[in-house]
Amino acid sequence: MSDSLAFAPRSPLAAVGPAAAAPVSAPAPAAAAVPVAAPGVTAAVLDGFGLATVLARKGSSQTLAQRARERFGIDLPTAPTLSAASGVAFAGTGPGAWLAMADRGGNGFAAKLMTDLDGVASVSDQSDGYVLIRLTGARVRDALSKLVPIDLHPRAFKAGDVASTVASHIGVTLWRPADGPDAAHVFEVALFRSLARSFWHALADAAAEYGFAVHPP
């Protein structure tokens, strides 16, 4: 079909994404005690991933955990933490509830989960329901602490920890993958797509004083 060419996915942040995103704002002067060199916070909008909510069926948590081990080599977390293996990760988001993620695979991932976990879990595709933003940089914690009411200090929020919380009136789920090469902490934030632009505004606002840059994913 001719127009199938034009038929492409579109992120709600396409407009504000890398291109139009808040320009790398001049880091505030020494007073603000920012490393004047690099931007304190950089963001990347992720794409192409597959995402699904996985809810254990009544009384089948055992079998579910087993399947997860068999099919994905993953030990299902029973707490707000992240278990990852070969491009697939499960984040504990509630009792008997997980957010399952695959770096690639889009809607296909949920379809695969449905067959893999048939009978032991209720799976709902959310690949399009959420946007994922990866944040890092020397001041990323300072910027995030303006948004979320949780303790992001490494003593309290370790690599692999997951939290569902609220970021200036917007529900978010965030987790901490391993630190980046520059040893700066990395956070990934998932939120409902309809709120993506409002969240982006709040984020750019919070990060501006530290210098905010947007990287292509």
Partner: protein
């Protein structure tokens, strides 16, 4: 006020939404006095000044309903459990 969610850990009040008295038991609709029983469960409250068993919903967290025992005079949280 900070509420200890059994799954998420201690979180700020702003993540929760409140329902009230955790005592609510849904009566048997078939019982002869169902009308009176439902009325009591839905409308009447002990409303104590002191320890109070109440239901909170972790709206911005894990979406669990949790039972909190809280002192309504001091706002001191005394215990938290799954309903």
């Amino acid at each position: 006020m900070r509420i200890q969610c059994p799954f998420c850990g201690e979180r700020d009040l702003s993540e929760f939404s409140y329902r009230g008295d955790a005592g609510f038991k849904r009566p048997d609709a078939a019982a002869p006095d169902a009308g009176a029983r439902f009325f009591e469960e839905v409308y009447l409250r002990d409303n104590p000044a002191g320890p109070h068993e109440e239901l909170w919903y972790h709206l911005y967290g894990c979406r669990s309903w949790i039972k909190v025992n809280r002192n309504t005079r001091t706002h001191e949280i005394l215990a938290v459990s799954r309903p």
